[in-house]
Subunit: 383 residues, 2 copies
């Protein structure tokens, strides 16, 4: 096991009816800015629940945060914070709204230069407006971590950063708020959570039997529960299981003491930036490509994964490839495509994508074995 430091201060408030607890969770004297996305919270009743719970509080609103939240939009919200003296941010929606809200929290008080530096130069912000969230789409795990991914429309960039100051003070997870998610949103969330675990698990063994099994617990739960929520969106039990599982997939716990990959996310982010594909859809395409490309580097973990998660006999010569096939089939079983060609995307921009990694001087994967040439090889496997 590698040495590690683990600390996660987020207060999780889980279960039906928990939005009513908001008044206990936010100090009475705060000027609150509620942030949200395209308005689905107005249709599913969450907006009304928040307004009711916070009646009498100083409550402002900023809606319209996009999936793949945009720097340009978020800077407008940061301006509102400065102008109105906002002292608490309440993110209501999915991981994009929350990621965006984390950036707003840091950008509003950032004085050292252009807030985009927080992403482009990994500049450290030393101040943040405190924030909490109601998460309504189990997927990103943003509700229990300090990371965020932001897109910039003008440059077609999508970049990630993190700061301990933007751990949510609390995250309310009410599975009933997920009943109205579309099949597509639900499936995207399941794939996103699944691939988060892959990035932390599918590397090479460093003797972490507990963390391995904790990761496999997440895979197995997602595989078992996915068909239930796809068939019956109002299955509280299955929705609750998936919601808590998505949170556990990226809260730092399964990352304790293990090497990590994240190449799928890095390449996936470029596919979103270039083609506007949903985040999870890019992961479902890139992951199988990377696993096939890195078959030897990941062999031991692939065999363990195949055996424990898919009951594939590890002594068979095609056991690793079978494990990848099973994974791809699982994504397809919830309706997510796994090939670029299925979206009409060819190899035209592969060099341009690879160039970005070259210019950033970035090599990817747990062995830094993936340079810009390998990015092209991998993308070819994704056609």
């Amino acid at each position: 096991m590698n040495n590690f430091i683990y600390q996660n201060p987020v207060k999780i408030v889980f279960g039906k009816g928990q939005i009513a607890k908001l008044p206990e969770l936010i100090d009475a004297n705060k000027t609150i800015l509620m942030t949200y996305g395209g308005g689905s919270i107005k249709k599913n009743g969450v907006y009304d629940q928040v307004k009711k719970a916070l009646a009498g509080r100083k409550l402002l609103e900023f809606g319209g945060i996009e999936p793949n939240p945009r720097y340009e939009t978020l800077m407008k919200a940061a301006e509102v914070c400065k102008k109105e003296g906002v002292s608490f941010l309440l993110s209501v929606g999915g991981g994009s709204v929350l990621d965006g809200t984390k950036f707003i929290a840091l950008a509003a008080n950032y004085k050292a230069g252009d807030p985009w530096d927080i992403l482009a130069k990994q500049a450290t912000a030393n101040e943040a407006i405190p924030l909490g969230c109601i998460i309504t789409l189990p997927a990103t795990g943003s509700e229990m971590n300090s990371g965020f991914v932001i897109s910039r429309e003008s440059t077609k960039e999508k970049l990630a950063s993190g700061n301990p100051l933007v751990y949510p003070l609390f995250s309310i997870l009410d599975p009933e708020t997920t009943f109205t998610l579309s099949k597509e949103q639900t499936a995207n969330g399941i794939v996103d959570a699944f691939v988060h675990v892959m990035e932390q698990y599918m590397t090479y063994p460093v003797y972490t039997p507990l963390q391995d099994r904790q990761s496999e617990a997440i895979f197995l739960t997602l595989i078992e529960e996915a068909p239930k929520v796809m068939e019956n969106p109002q299955d509280y039990n299955a929705r609750a299981a998936i919601m808590w599982t998505a949170t556990q997939a990226l809260n730092g716990l399964i990352a304790c003491g293990v090497p990590q990959d994240w190449a799928t996310h890095m390449i996936g982010h470029e596919l979103t930036a270039f083609y506007g594909l949903d985040h999870a859809k890019t992961l479902a395409i890139v992951l199988p490509g990377i696993l096939r490309h890195q078959l030897k580097n990941k062999e031991k973990k692939l065999l363990q994964y195949g055996q424990r998660v898919w009951k594939i006999n590890p002594t068979k010569s095609d056991a690793t490839l079978k494990a990848i096939d099973k994974t791809e089939k699982f994504f397809r079983s919830v309706g997510i495509k796994t090939k670029l060609s299925e979206y009409g995307i060819g190899k035209e921009k592969f060099s341009e994508i690879a160039d970005r990694f070259r210019r950033r001087g970035m090599r990817l994967g747990e062995h830094q074995a993936i340079g810009s040439e390998q990015v092209i090889e991998i993308l070819n496997l994704c056609l």
Copy 2:
């Protein structure tokens, strides 16, 4: 899944050489009281590592905290805190030292009456001296929770309480500090951690597939790693796996959204109070008795446990009893006895023990199905 709230602020600093990080973890201006037990830390080098790391700091010492830490001893330490203006407590040792230190932290500033009320009357203390720990015996999980169990010599009582103020600010877990544990201490720790998971898992199903598998991950890891550390006490990998597993067994995570039992602990505490048996040894005796007594109430979970942890076919009529037998055999495999008679203990004091629960008006177990009569029935199964 039941509704739940989860928050755990402890900073875990895990791995070899991490004691050297102490100066970064404790503010320079603190007056530190280092607490410890019978002096094993002086033999295994941990004491010297602490002294070296904190050279130049204002560092006092209080040694001699017993296994099953005693109120009488701890009150002396609380006096030292008051007299010397101690502003940080550093617990160095196992769970007993840490539990004791948590009580010292609360007792030193307790003004509402006799600090024993914190245990006997579950009185709430509103102030605590901040504390951190170096844990050297993987067992209790105290390093990542806010609970503590204290014994009172004069009344032969052993009682538990908790307070969020005594979450350690940090816990250093260096597996190398466990190399010098005796086989008996190592085995006690493994059994303790195992039974902690049992208390949170072996109840009745409420649709928590992830938490179930997280619990089973702990069982399987303990079962796999136990023989390795019993055979080679200096096996870093296995020691590290067991250390992290013991912490995960009682940090609140697997308790999320599930019913809990704790009858084994409640009855076990009385066996320690009456006979002075080690905590873990009481658990290894009482757990099988309770499982056999509560066979019907726990049937579904016993079948799942038997199948997933011990590969017992759940359709066989003796599947539940087999699962209990396997558990008992596991305890015996690390050298821990599972019958009272093996310690020369008979039924003489059973009524007196049962009386204590009657007087406290306490019924035990996830269904409150265990009253004082059932306590006697269970103890008879433990002979």
